[in-house]
């Protein structure tokens, strides 16, 4: 396991007036796999990703454990985290134009990643930058290296960002909504690039997204988050074929991904995700869940193994083992 998260809790505010954004989160990522964290905005998925590198907002506090290659990285001193960032864990963000310094050439920004960790001197880093741009299939890498971010296309920018994140050869790449700002065709290219890089560089990738298409394309395993907690964790194909959590199923239906009901009409999930200060009691999804029962309103479901997945639900949809009858009490 390259990454182990245990009982992660992220909150804001002073004691007595705390707002918890992520709670009781535990999951593991195996080396070399592509792990997708899905959820709506406000589910806490981005915060989770950021907390691995200590890049959450200054006001956020965290407790629990995050172990990367056996070492604890949560709440470590800044100096220690800086050695991690870029070098062992790379990170790619959503908005490539905003995320790049507008007054520096692209090549220099990639080279900076190398030089920040003392891995190369100026001329070597510059050369490596061009090589990296080539690696991510950017045509005419020399010209792009000399260009400014606003002079190249969105797709090229995102690839350049990936090159920047991978410059020092990290083992883990965190991609926060890497394709959200891109056109559909470019999206596919970037996803293919990520898959290729994973294969060739033995890279582990954590993708944070709300886009089912991305998940379907790439993910090996999925973590579904809702209102700061884990709803379901498991292998991608299992979850997509037979979602056990009502929220997961609703997500699939809203993206027409589910195979359980191929003729279902596209449906939006009713209601909206609860805000930090207004989490409902019991299961946080119960106000929007068509299958909610009395216990859902009172008891918080904990994440437990359920067949091939881990699940936090009192009344799961699919049977734990295929072929068995549905669990009692479900619709």
């Amino acid at each position: 396991m390259i990454l182990s998260v245990k009982d992660l809790r992220i909150w804001f505010g002073e004691p007595g007036a705390e707002l918890t954004a992520v709670e009781d989160l535990s999951f593991e990522v195996a080396e070399g796999e592509i792990f997708a964290v899905i959820g709506e905005s406000g589910s806490g998925k981005t915060l989770t990703g950021m907390s691995i590198l200590g890049l959450t907002p200054a006001a956020a506090r965290a407790a629990g454990s995050i172990r990367f290659m056996g070492r604890e990285v949560l709440n470590r001193p800044e100096a220690e985290l800086r050695r991690l960032r870029g070098r062992e864990i790379g990170i790619v963000y959503q908005d490539p134009l905003g995320s790049m310094n507008p007054v520096w050439p692209v090549g220099d920004q990639i080279a900076e990643a190398l030089r920040a960790h003392g891995l190369a001197d100026r001329p070597t880093a510059a050369r490596r930058a061009v090589e990296l741009l080539e690696r991510v299939h950017i045509p005419d890498p020399h010209r792009v290296a000399r260009a400014y971010p606003h002079e190249i296309s969105g797709g090229m920018r995102q690839r350049a960002m990936i090159a920047m994140a991978l410059a020092c050869g990290p083992k883990l790449l965190i991609a926060d909504e890497p394709t959200t700002a891109l056109d559909v065709t470019i999206k596919a290219q970037v996803l293919e690039l990520l898959a290729e890089l994973r294969r060739e560089m033995a890279l582990t990738v954590i993708i944070i997204t709300h886009d089912m298409g991305v998940v379907a394309e790439l993910a090996d395993r999925i973590l579904v988050m809702y209102a700061g907690k884990a709803a379901e964790i498991g292998a991608a194909d299992v979850i997509m074929r037979r979602p056990a959590h009502p929220y997961t199923q609703a997500l699939m239906l809203s993206a027409m991904m589910s195979e359980t009901a191929p003729k279902q009409v596209l449906r939006a999930i009713e209601g909206t995700a609860p805000m930090l200060h207004a989490y409902p009691p019991g299961c946080r999804f119960h106000p929007r869940c068509p299958f909610a029962e009395a216990d859902c309103r009172q008891e918080v479901p904990t994440l437990r193994p359920y067949g091939e997945v881990a699940l936090a639900c009192h009344h799961p949809l699919a049977p734990a083992v295929p072929g068995e009858p549905q669990p009692a009490g479900t619709g």
């Binding site: 200590g54 907002p57 200054a58 956020a60 965290a62 949560l74 800044e78």
Partner: protein
Amino acid sequence: MSGQGRAVIGPFRRASGGRAAERLLLLLAWLIVAALALFVFFAGLLAPYDPIILNIGQRLHPPALDHLFGTDEGGRDIFSRVVYGTRYSLGVSVAIVFAAAVFGVAYGAISGMASRRVDDVMMRTVDLFFGFPALVLAMAVAAAIGRGLDSVALSLAVIWWPGYARLVRGEVLRLRERPHVEAARALGVSSLTLLRRHIIPFVLQEVNVRVTTDIGYALVAVTALSFLGLGAESPTPEWGLLIRDSRPYFGSAWWYLVFPGIMIMLTATAFSIIGDDLAGRRRRSGAP
């Protein structure tokens, strides 16, 4: 997590302890303005002595209970002179800013509503005036038409109005595109009414903020010109003039320099604080 908090450079977050201090400052600022208003309108009641009559026997006395700010070279009570001087120093400043604002708003509103070409010409003209070294112009004007507070007022008003014209024109242009204005226009409402009812009220809010802060700056400029001898003339107890008069004596008569200066500083800062607060309120209220 970034265990070292502040030293990390990242998104900015304001310290929480500041709010109470800000409110206190604002209160102080309003108190100062209130006191100034009293000075302007009730100088006769508040000033213990006559500001102009000489009293050589008492010349250059340090501050004491009977002369709060000390006396000047003519034996006159400086506190009284300062109190009476408020209507000149502050009065002229307010007049200048208001005159500049009125003209600037009218000009900017017309420019903003006019056609592209007219607007262009009007704004180019304004741009010519922009950033002009004020003092120099005031000197030249005072040379030509004579000294005095009115000459100073004229020069400064001329320097000041382009700022308002630009501000208002920008706001008018922006508000023109707003849905409620477009809707009104589609209904056939005339430009003038559009301006009056839908645009100017919002613009004036913005102008208000600027006017408040500018009064402080105008005061500094007015006193500077009086200091140079361009503005008020003796024996008018204008604050800048007081400082000018103190020049031969302030080495030993420190009070002569300090108290008028503090008045200018307090007044300017008070208006600045109030202006800042108005700006903050406007931002927070989410005005269009």
